[in-house]
Amino acid sequence: MTDPDLLYSEEEEALRAAVRDLLADHCDPAAVIARAESDTPHDLRLWKALTDGMGLAGLLVPEERGGQGATHREAAVVLEELGRAVAPVPYLTSAVVATEALLACDDAGDLVEELASGRRIGALAVALNVTAGGAVRTVRVEDGTLRGELTGIADAAVADVLLVPGDDGGLHAVAAAAATVTPQPSLDLTRPLATVALDGAPARRIGAAEPAVRRALCSAAGLLASEQLGLADWTLTETVRYLKDRKQFNRPVGGFQALKHRLAQLWLEVVSLRAAARAAADALATGQDTEVAVAVAQAYAAPVAVRAAEEALQLHGGIGMTWEHPVHLYLKRAKADSIAYGTAGAHRAALAELVDLQAP
């Protein structure tokens, strides 16, 4: 087995710089907070800039199917930057999860190209907390129509097409307009959930559900680690910046050793997370050692991202508790991410099998 490439290539750094520039112009924290409580929590103008402008929705799609023919390594860099900005766009859910599911289906047809272009947004109708290989709720399939209700579907509110597992073992494409999508008040304001009610909605079977869902959720878990890295990197950087500036007792608060040690410890965890996230992205790209690399990254990433956000809030003091300061967006995203695509515990349980450390 060759060693994973844990660095960023020059092209990947250039991609990062381009995405970061765009987000600096179009995704400032105050606007994200204001949007979070509006009727349109997703920023579709930003989505258009990322997809139409930069072609980023098609990174995982081969060129002959209308994509960029890039790999999970590049998608991971995009997710790091989107995480740093808690950007309210359906990138992970459409450009990674729905796209991977479609790529695993034989009869996905033009949907792959449509999602790759970003002109249409897809959502896999599987609850956000489900792990690859975990139990998936299905709907009834009757004469090419679907009946049933699903909950906890991330970014369904902006989806144009829903990919729904049926009780026939198939994955079915349904136009969102034919379903009733109802937003659920969500812990994470920037990746809100919705219920999907289907009452005889016309659907097209595009392939077998099990392999498609498994592939989608495995990629999702692996690349989520890069988003979590972005969240943790922003919260650490911002907290260090604030504590150099904030003065109490006639000195910068960041000079107190109790706080320096906490931040240094957090830094160590963030650089470790970077290695784990890079390993997972590289493993997804090469297909080597994928399951272990993804499980390791996700078992490590979730607690680190949550702790980084919790530390950021505590070390900001009172201002960190206000709605006005963006740290709560990061805390909410990090906490929701710790459940998304399987908890750290679920990934440890998977590892127990993968590396033969069996339960009693």
Partner: protein
């Protein structure tokens, strides 16, 4: 420019001229040094070829495949990792020619006389005195935590030559002959039962001025080279999965199902993940070094491994249940080299307690990360402009 192909060729030529099967070990090592294949990044004539450090692996692989003897690097780690780079950077031509070859072949073992009972984390406060007498320095004081002192022929030593200036400025760096009659080495028994370290008492030790390394009063700067190389050595290794402390406990878990509990299972998996991520972090650091873009991660690796070694070995003692209540051997010994994973879980548990103290405590390393990597304000300094002799002690 010496490239990989050139080094492969030189290695094969060398092996043809000195077949390992028919060449004595010491003869082989001396010849390897003279051929510039000892440490290829050193200059020609001093065991190297002025080649990139990363190419040493090419030579080592060729020699290992041919079954060549090595210089037992773990026995002479302080010489190779700390004394040699410092002598190379600050030594006179005579010092380099005299010391580097027997250091590398292992004919002369080195130890490090830095820490003192009154100067641990605050190493620059050291009080061992060196007073000039003609062409010699007379040294008096006490050093501690000196591994290999009982087998060492030479020591790198820092001592105070000017007590009237602030502490960092009055230190000078020496190469000390451990056979001097004023050097007394006493074993220092530690919590594992053995004495891996020593106390070294220096009483009227005479060091010729020719064995001073660097300028008088410049010893603190010279010592930074020694200490920085200690950390480079930690960062450069490639470790396989389950390569460290997590290996033995994972094997025990697999082989002894009767010991398993749910609580231990959760803790083992958590530590397994952390060990794997620490391994990947070290691997990423190594890839950065090879690509010529060293990152600041090295400062954190020692912190991570200290904590993990302690947690993992502690878990293994607990996992072993009744056997965990036993200990393999309390006999007082003076080992020549340290093997962190070579003995039972109980030994590993006790020995790993030193990992967060030796080579910089975890608390000091956290300060270093906070100040040098994150740019947070430095600790308040009350000793900066105070003459050493006036410091509180």
């Amino acid at each position: 420019m010496t490239d990989a192909a050139e080094l492969r060729r030189r290695t094969q030529e060398f092996l043809a001229a000195h077949p390992p099967a028919t060449t004595g070990r010491l003869e082989f090592l001396r010849a390897r040094f003279d051929a510039g294949l000892a440490w290829v990044h050193f200059p020609e004539g001093l065991g190297g070829l002025g080649a990139p450090r990363s190419l040493q692996a090419v030579v080592d692989a060729g020699l290992e495949a041919a079954g060549a003897p090595d210089n037992d690097p773990r026995r002479i780690g302080i010489g190779l990792g700390m004394a040699a780079p410092t002598i190379l950077q600050y030594g006179t031509q005579e010092q380099k020619r005299r010391f580097l070859k027997p250091l590398w072949t292992g004919e002369e073992v080195w130890c490090q006389l830095f820490s003192e009972p009154g100067a641990g984390s605050d190493l620059a406060a050291l009080g061992t005195r060196a007073v000039r007498e003609g062409d010699e320095w007379v040294v008096n004081g006490q050093k501690v935590w000196t591994s290999s002192a009982h087998v060492a022929r030479w020591a790198i030593l820092i001592a105070r030559t000017d007590p009237d200036v602030p502490k960092h400025r009055g230190i000078t760096y020496f190469l000390c002959d451990m056979t001097d009659p004023g050097v007394e080495v006493r074993p220092l028994r530690q919590i594992t039962g053995e004495a891996e370290f020593n106390e070294v008492f220096l009483t009227g030790v005479r060091i010729p001025d020719a064995h001073r390394l660097g300028e008088i009063g410049d010893g603190w700067r010279v010592a930074q080279t020694t200490l920085n190389n200690e950390r480079v050595a930690i960062g450069g290794m490639r470790i396989p999965r389950e390569g460290g402390m997590i290996g033995p406990v994972s094997r025990t878990w697999r082989e002894r199902p009767e010991l398993r509990t749910h609580d231990l299972h959760q803790r083992l998996l958590t530590l397994w993940v952390e060990a794997e991520v620490a391994r990947l972090t070290g691997e990423r650091l190594r890839q950065q070094l090879v690509a010529g873009q060293p990152g600041p991660e090295g400062a954190g690796m020692k912190l991570a491994f200290a904590r993990l070694n302690q947690a993992i070995s502690g878990l293994e003692v607990e996992l072993r249940g009744e056997e965990g209540l036993l200990y393999d051997d309390w006999t007082m010994r003076r080992p020549e080299k340290v093997d962190f994973t070579g003995r039972d879980a109980g030994y590993r548990y006790l020995r790993s307690k030193g990992n967060s103290i030796e080579g910089g405590t975890s608390e000091v390393l956290l300060n270093i990360v906070a100040e040098r990597v994150l740019g947070l304000p430095a600790e308040p300094r009350t000793d900066k402009d105070v003459a050493w002799k006036d410091l509180a002690r």
